[in-house]
């Protein structure tokens, strides 16, 4: 049957897309497809081609549809691309819909019994007898379901001209240490490849050609990068509660701590990690540990931040340090828990009741996830306050290629802490006295001997000496000083980065939107529109943002939420410039793509 397959025909005038395409794989979750997809991605990466992966998975353990998109890009564009040149359809439940949605001319690899080839005439079909191939290649029937997906890796490798040696390497890497699993999966991939060699003609739609773009790069996800940042920052207390998409941050940290945070002599641990009963308790542990002098953290997502918000306000007001990673997902409520969004911008900026303002860090790539996680612990102790590191599911859980992380050479900043001797020598010390005029006071740690420095921390009104007070002047003095402290932070948080083309039109974005904005800028140039791009990396807004906002004619604020939350913060901070901010939004749960930015900016420009 399959031997009679004709060479897939190219649309008239089309050129072969070399190292520039997207593949979408539709499978059922819990079927081992994540391993297969990661192997395919890694094999292309090992061919020296820039590649990125997006896993679109359900909130479910097994049995529901899942899609994985692999994008190769010679130009280094790593944002999600809305159109796909190859489809691999393994899920009978979604196959017809996947076909209906696919782009004309796409190559469609599918499980032969699905008989999809009559559905549309403008696609190139490649039916594959997966069951037959898996039966022949894998002697253990109970593994067939898990190994079946590895067959399509072999088929795709053959069609894309990916070297099988790279596929085998990728399998070894992906399943490191598990000799039997490696053997079985390599056999399955080879069976797919050999079958395709024998039965499929060449195609010239899309190809991988060996390049050298990825030499020396790593593949990592943002949660792992943040975990590594925390490891090198010397976190000593972790209180956490499982939540998608933040769990793997702490779980990865646990694995690293097992290896790198044991006292070599005693085998005892230099970090306490406790899975708490909920996010409220996690927040309490983080702040109290910080109060007592530990470097502490938690990782959570929007619903967790909501639960933590009472404690976050306490931390802000009593001035207790702690690092809060928010790997944002699609809200409100449970929302789409396995989909991405920049949904918590305003929540994290002002988390809790009363007047509160928080330092937020917004990493935009893997190196920044690592570095900002490291920096967050310094900032927490320097400013004696909760620090949010805000990423999202797209940064946190997807695979990204990155330069290897540079060793964070700066020594730890433990902030203004008075030791026993300093307390003994201090004249008229008060826990909340602003001695230096920067809004940051000197603190003492519980357990410091010598009989000096003890104070009573309270979430109720207090004065410079941490005494209970309901006096209006005491209250105002404290909250005004906290505002001063926030001002001081402007010179300590990461400044924005720019990608300017010499234009009066500005684009402002942050976090995971970065790759899509870069690509959109290039696409807009092709349409004759130059833009200057500012990538914001922290709250509070720093001097670089002030200047950009004042100087641009218009500022397109790109963000992944419905309400333009960052634009709201900008309008509030720069009321005189409020009409300049135009929101470019993407909020359907998928990662933002360049085309939607181009379309929305173009529409604004045509008005």
């Amino acid at each position: 049957m399959t031997a009679s397959l004709a060479a897939p025909s190219m649309p008239v005038g089309a050129k072969t897309r070399i190292n520039d395409f997207s593949i979408q794989v539709a499978t059922v979750n819990g079927s081992g497809s994540q391993t297969a997809n990661s192997v395919l991605l890694r094999a292309i990466f090992q061919m020296g081609v820039f590649v990125s992966g997006k896993n679109l998975f359900p909130s479910n353990i097994a049995g529901l549809p899942t899609w994985f998109t692999i994008r190769a890009s010679a130009k280094g564009y790593v944002a999600r691309k809305a159109s796909n040149e190859m489809l691999i359809l393994m899920n009978p439940e979604t196959a017809k819909e996947d076909i209906a949605k696919s782009d004309p001319g796409a190559l469609v690899i599918y499980d032969e019994p699905l008989q999809l080839d009559k559905l549309r005439a403008d696609l190139s079909y490649i039916p594959v007898p997966f069951q037959k191939l898996v039966t022949a290649s894998c002697p253990e029937p109970k593994l067939h379901k898990l190994v079946k997906n590895m067959i399509y890796v072999g088929v795709a490798a053959r069609l894309l001209s990916v070297d099988m040696a790279e596929v085998r390497n990728a399998i070894s890497k992906q399943l490191k240490g598990k000799a039997k699993a490696i053997e079985i999966n390599q056999a399955a991939a080879t069976a797919g490849y050999d079958w395709a060699m024998e039965n499929l003609p060449d195609q010239d739609h899309i190809k991988v050609v060996r390049d050298n773009k990825t030499q020396g790069l790593i593949i990592v996800d943002g949660n792992e990068a943040c975990a590594l940042g925390a490891l090198f920052a010397g976190v000593t207390v972790v209180g956490w509660y499982p939540i998608t998409p933040a769990s793997s941050l702490v779980e990865t940290f646990i694995d690293y701590a097992e290896e790198y945070r044991k006292d070599p002599k005693t085998g005892k641990s230099t970090v306490a990690i406790v899975q708490m009963e909920d996010e409220l308790a996690s927040a309490g542990v983080v702040l109290a540990a910080g109060w007592a002098g530990a470097r502490s953290m938690t990782s959570t997502a929007g619903p967790g931040v909501s639960l933590m918000s009472e404690f976050i306000g306490l931390g802000y007001y009593v001035e207790a340090p702690g690092v809060f990673f928010n790997v944002a997902r699609t809200g409100p409520s449970t929302g789409l828990p396995t989909r991405t969004q920049q949904s918590d911008v305003e929540l994290c900026a002002k988390c809790s009741h009363g007047d509160t303002q928080h330092i937020n860090l917004y990493p935009g790539n893997m190196e920044e996830c690592f570095q900002f996680a490291y920096d967050a612990f310094d900032l927490a102790e320097r400013f004696q306050t909760p620090i949010f590191v805000v990423t999202d599911l797209d940064l946190g859980m997807q695979n990204w290629s990155s330069k290897p992380f540079a060793y964070p050479a700066t020594p730890y900043d433990r902030g203004k802490v008075l030791n026993q001797q300093q307390l003994a020598e201090a004249i008229d010390w008060g826990r909340y006295k602003d001695v230096d005029g920067d809004g940051i006071c000197y603190r003492s740690l519980p357990g410091t001997p010598g009989g000096k420095g003890a104070y009573f921390t309270r979430g109720s009104g207090h004065n410079d000496y941490a005494q209970y007070s309901e006096k209006p002047e005491d209250y105002v003095a404290v909250v005004d000083r906290l505002k001063r402290k926030y001002e001081t932070a402007k010179t300590h948080v990461p400044a924005p980065v720019f990608r300017n083309q010499g234009s009066s039109k500005g684009i402002l974005a942050f976090g995971s939107s970065d790759p899509a904005v870069i690509e959109a800028q290039d696409l807009l140039v092709e349409r004759g529109l130059k833009t200057d791009y500012l990538r914001l990396r922290a709250l509070p807004f720093t001097a670089g943002i002030d200047a950009f906002v004042k100087e641009k004619q218009v500022v397109y604020v790109v963000e992944q939420n419905r309400d333009g939350q960052m634009a709201n913060l900008l309008r509030e901070t720069y009321p005189e410039q409020a009409t300049k901010f135009k929101s470019v939004l993407h909020y359907n749960g998928h990662a933002i793509d360049a085309q939607c930015i181009v379309d929305q900016i173009t529409a604004f420009e045509q008005k």
């Binding site: 593949i219 990690i273 406790v274 308790a281 530990a294």
Partner: protein, 345 residues
């Protein structure tokens, strides 16, 4: 620094009792909570506690104000309603040398903070967890709490239709290794139990019946001074002997049972009410339930198991407080980062 004067007696550290006091109480005159504060001061003095190692935690409510009223040499943290256990957990993990005292109330621990109470006990956080139990929300001016007895009245005349939660049986069920109930009006018993509590390694749950003189001290209240005095059944006379390398104190034989703590301290338990074995977990549960059915408050050391490891040991933490660890102990070397980066290539 000890402020001993020739006239005031000092403890082994050279401190007077005055060195263990706090700020002046702002609670109502005659409040049971103040009597508890006085015994904490007394027990800390007699147990030779180093004040600077004490950390005092609380949530919200009348009880939660009291950490300001004792041991000024220690640090205090008055946090948010019902969340004192999380604060104690974080701080005790950060510095394992701290002596942790949490003060909570029946509303703070048995209503809003029930979940945190349960899990702190389950984890065996090294802390003395005091519930100043008056069956009423005092600071919000007199609403029922979850420990109020079914059928009990408020001053306003409102009747409680719901059954109470008992912190002691709950704590025993959760595996707590030191559970006691006391009455704030029985200083001798309270002092002995607090001194024993200072010697214990894990979570100590003390449910201290503490009448609210303003909102819950009328004759119909089961937590009034009169009612508790009439229905208090002390199980035993307790004597606490702190471990000392110098002298060894003989404990009278006979009806006295001795429980030895890992540090060598001992609590001597002389039964008076009935034969009661506080090391028998099921027996303790049964005795408490039987007394509750009769409308009595069984007071004393209800259950003790001195060998349970606290969370700091379960986590196998280094001996030095985590908060004292510096960059040299915490930051992996450049070679480690290189190794990790290679594994990701």
């Amino acid at each position: 620094m000890p402020t001993a004067t020739p006239s005031a007696p000092t403890n082994q550290l050279g401190f007077t009792k005055q060195d263990y006091v706090g700020s002046k109480s702002t609670l109502c005159a005659g409040c049971g909570h103040d009597a508890i504060t006085a015994q904490i001061i007394n027990a800390a003095f007699e147990s030779n506690i180093e004040g600077y190692r004490v950390t005092k935690y609380s949530g919200i409510g009348c009880s939660s104000k009291t950490p300001a009223y004792f041991i000024n040499q220690g640090w205090g943290f008055n946090s948010v309603h019902g969340r004192m256990p999380a604060i104690a957990t974080g701080s005790s993990l950060a510095n394992r040398n701290l002596i942790n005292i949490g003060v909570s109330g029946d509303g703070d621990s048995m209503s809003i903070g029930m979940g945190q109470f349960v899990h702190a006990v389950r984890r065996n956080i090294p802390m003395i967890y005091i519930i100043e139990d008056n069956g009423v929300y005092g600071l919000t001016k007199g609403q029922f709490s979850a420990t109020a007895d079914k059928g009990s009245f408020l001053k306003s005349g409102a009747v409680n239709d719901l059954p109470p939660v008992d912190p002691c049986t709950l704590a025993i069920e959760l595996g707590c290794g030191f559970v006691a109930r006391c009455f704030s009006g029985n200083p001798k018993q309270l002092s002995a139990i607090l001194k024993s509590a200072f010697a214990y390694q894990g979570t100590v749950v003390l449910d201290i019946i503490s009448p609210c003189v303003t909102f819950n001290n009328h004759d119909a209240s089961t937590r009034s001074y009169k009612h508790v005095k009439d229905h208090d059944f002390p199980l035993h006379d307790l004597g606490f002997i702190q471990y000392s390398e110098v002298e060894d104190v003989d404990i009278a034989a006979g009806a006295t049972e001795v429980v030895t703590f890992p540090d060598g301290s001992r609590v001597a338990i002389k039964a008076i009410h009935e034969d009661y074995d506080p090391t028998d977990r099921f027996g303790a549960m049964k005795a408490i339930h039987q007394s509750m059915a009769k409308g009595e408050f069984l007071t004393g050391l209800l259950y003790i198991n001195p060998t349970q490891p606290p969370l700091t040991e379960v986590l196998n933490l280094v001996d030095e407080p985590l908060a004292s660890l510096g960059e040299a102990q915490l930051k992996p070397s450049p070679a480690v980062l290189e190794e990790i980066m290679r594994s990701l290539m």
